[in-house]
Every structure is written in C-alpha cells, then in structure tokens.
C-alpha cells in the first residue's frame, strides 16, 4: 500500500582486519562524518543509504563486520547474502595487507560465486606512515581481477566513489526486473524482509 521508496536493494559487506577503518569508511559514506575514537565492532552491524544510479533508486544495505578473529563464525554467515564485498586494508599496516589473501579465501569459501569484489587501501591521508605502496595494492587487485581504490574516511577521499562504483558494477549485471525479484530478498535472518513485505504490495 505504501509507495515504494526504492527500485533496487543491494546488499554489501565490508570485511578486513580489525582496525583498518571499515566502520569509519561506512560512517563516512552513510552519515558523512568521521570519529577518531576506535570502538571495535561487535560481531555485525549495518547501515542503510539510498543512492540514485541510472535513474534508479538503489537502497544499499551495507553490513559492517567485526575484523576480530573471535567473531569469525558470526561474520562469515553474512557473506552468503552479499552481492558486493569491500575488502579493506590499512596502508599503514603491513599485516592487514598480508592478510588480504586470507580474506579473499574467506570470500571464496563463504560468499556467492558471482559476488562483486573490491579492494580498498584505507587511511591514504596518512602518507608519512604508509608502509604499503599504492602499486602493491594495484598489483594484487589486478591479479585477482578486482577494482581497487585508495581511500580515506578521515579526509573523505574516494569513499563515495568506491561505493557508487561497486553499486554500478552490481547494477550492470542485475537483470532488468521488477524490484521484488528474488535476488533482492537475500536476507538470512537479517532485517531486509521488513521492507519487502511492506513496500511491494
């Protein structure tokens, strides 16, 4: 009965080591804000942002995962429903870059085969503390055939561009269908069902 407020619902997922700035990247995109205090994400959280691409209103439900290993079992259960996954590392943290292959393996194991992937090297405003050259990020992205951006949630560099590009890539391979097609209803015990039942009567 209510007029629907979007045409498509894309479900995205942020993964990467603890402390690389996944939550900050998301917070910058959804609320255009930045907070320097580090609060470790507990398990899994999400934010909503509606964008307009090619004349379509696309609702992005972006799942923010805890990078800590102890939440692994909780976070991996959210891979399955994701249509796009952003793998974030910290350009000032070599370990977070080394772990990219581990995260890519997680994607292979737990996510859908056709999931759209993207690599982000965050904190690119901290040039003086950089330990991972941009070329290395570009190289590993090329090797795996995925897009790559260096971002800064703090300085608001490439954040919106990254999310919009990922959404565009998903949109490009989304068949032209009505919004209530089943590839939208991908929640596995998540909160997406609420909108669908109310918005598509």
């Amino acid at each position: 009965m209510a007029k629907k407020t979007y045409d498509l619902l894309f479900k995205l997922l942020l993964i990467g080591d603890s402390g690389v700035g996944k939550t900050c990247v998301l917070f910058r995109f959804s609320d255009d804000a930045f907070n320097t205090t580090f609060i470790s994400t507990i398990g899994i959280d999400f934010k909503i942002k509606t964008v307009e691409l090619q004349g379509k209103k696309i609702k992005l439900q972006i799942w923010d995962t805890a990078g800590q290993e102890r939440f692994h079992t909780i976070t991996t259960s959210y891979y399955r429903g994701a249509m796009g996954i952003m793998l974030v590392y910290d350009i000032t943290n070599a370990k977070s870059f080394e772990n990219i292959s581990k995260w890519l393996r997680n994607i292979d194991e737990h996510a859908n085969e056709d999931v759209e992937r993207m690599l982000l090297g965050n904190k690119c405003d901290m040039e003086d503390k950089r330990v991972v050259p941009k070329a290395k990020g570009e190289q590993i992205a090329r090797e795996h055939g995925i897009r790559f951006f260096e971002t800064s949630a703090k300085a608001n560099i490439n954040i919106e561009k990254a999310f919009l590009t990922l959404a565009e890539d998903i949109l490009r391979k989304t068949p032209v269908k009505e919004p209530n097609s089943e590839n939208v209803d991908i929640s596995s015990g998540s909160g997406v069902t609420g909108w669908k039942s109310k918005c598509c009567s």
């Binding site: 009965m1 007029k3 407020t5 398990g43 999400f46 079992t73 998540s190 609420g194 109310k198």
Partner: protein
C-alpha cells in the same frame, strides 16, 4: 655322640657364617670377649645381618661350653639356632625394606624438584594460548554469553533496527504527504509530533510480548 656331632656342625655353621672380618679379629684377640659381643648392645633398629652373625658366634661359643650336658640342652640348642635364623631373616628383610624406601623417597624427591623447576622456569605454559582467555569471575563486565547467544542478540538487534528504519521512512512519507490521507495508516501516529516516539513505543510494546532472545538474556534485570 650323634647329637653332639650335630651340635658341632651347627657350631661350624655359626663360625663360617660369621663375617670373615669378625672371625679373624676374634682369632687375633685369642678368643677374648671382644667386638662380636658388642652386637648385643646395639640399637635393635641399627642391627645388620653381620651383627646377627656376631650374636650367633657368641651364643654358639657359649653353647659349646655346655655341650653334651644332656638332651634338654641339645633341644634348646636347635631352638636357639632356629630363633637366630629367624632373627637373621628379619634383620635382612628389615634392612632391605629400609633401603627400598630410601630409594623410593629419593626418586620422588627428584621428581618433585624436576616438576617445581619446570613450573618456575616455564611460566609460559600457565598463560592462556592464542584462542583462550582468563575470565575474572568477579568482573561485572566479564564475557558471559556464548557466541550463539551473541549471534541471536545481534540478529535481533539488526532486525529491530531495520524495522525502526522502515517505520521512520513511513513516517517521513506521511509527513511529506506522499501517501494519500484517505488510506488507513499502518500505525496510529500523531503526525504533529516531530519524532516518532509514539510509533516506537507501540513497536516496543509489541516486541515485549514475544519471548525474544534479548528478553531471555536480560529479563533478570527488570526485577
């Protein structure tokens, strides 16, 4: 005579079983009362089997002095020999047991020292491994839910968050006048209030009726 012969052979036995050293010393002292007799004065629990042989030697020598004095005496001699044999066995056994117990004690001491040294040097084995942690049971902020419980709570939190967003969105639509007024609203909402507080409380009271995971976990706090 027959009897005397037996007694004699017993005497021989006492002589030969006596330690060679004691025999030699006795001979050198020309049979005078000397060291073999000292065995009688020793502490019972310090007696060795050599002491027993010394005692046998002394008793045998004394018995020789009264040999062939009658049948009662030779009977007594056999009994004395038997008692001395029993004495020999007891002392031997006793000393062996002491020796065994001492060895056992030393072994256990060594083992204890080894374990104590291992514990003091290898403190690392006491600290938790990479996937373990020490929980202070008196800490009010200690972790106390299982991963499954946390998963359920997070799922429910996210569900409620999604529902809240839907509600806020609908409220926004009502406010902006996109939705025709004629249609019955989903929830009774005062359109004049800037915030959807009433809407929220209605939702929350609905939630309370269900046995939610959060409710289950935190119900004790309401009492």
């Amino acid at each position: 005579t027959n009897l005397c012969h037996v007694v004699f052979s017993e005497r021989e036995k006492w002589t030969f079983v006596g330690s060679l050293k004691e025999v030699c010393r006795s001979a050198m002292e020309f049979g005078e009362e000397s060291s073999p007799a000292l065995a009688f004065e020793k502490d019972v629990f310090e007696l060795t089997v050599e002491d027993v042989y010394d005692i046998s030697y002394v008793i045998g020598r004394d018995l020789l002095k009264i040999r062939c004095k009658g049948e009662e005496v030779s009977d007594l001699q056999f009994k004395i020999v038997r008692v001395l044999e029993m004495f020999e066995s007891l002392v031997t056994k006793y000393n062996l047991s002491i020796e065994e117990l001492k060895m056992e004690r030393d072994n256990l001491k060594g083992e204890l020292d080894r374990i104590l040294a291992e514990r003091s040097s290898g403190q690392d084995t006491q600290t938790p491994g990479p996937n373990q942690m020490v929980v202070d049971l008196t800490d009010p902020n200690r972790p106390r839910f299982t991963m499954q419980e946390l998963k359920e709570v997070l799922q429910e939190r996210n569900q409620l968050k999604a529902q809240l967003m839907v509600a806020q969105e609908e409220l926004q639509l009502f406010k902006s006048g996109i939705l025709p007024q004629a249609e019955p609203p989903l929830v009774e909402v005062d359109l004049e209030t800037p915030e959807s507080t009433e809407h929220n409380s209605a939702k929350i009271s609905e939630m309370k009726e269900e046995r939610t995971a959060i409710g289950k976990l935190f119900s004790f706090k309401r009492k």
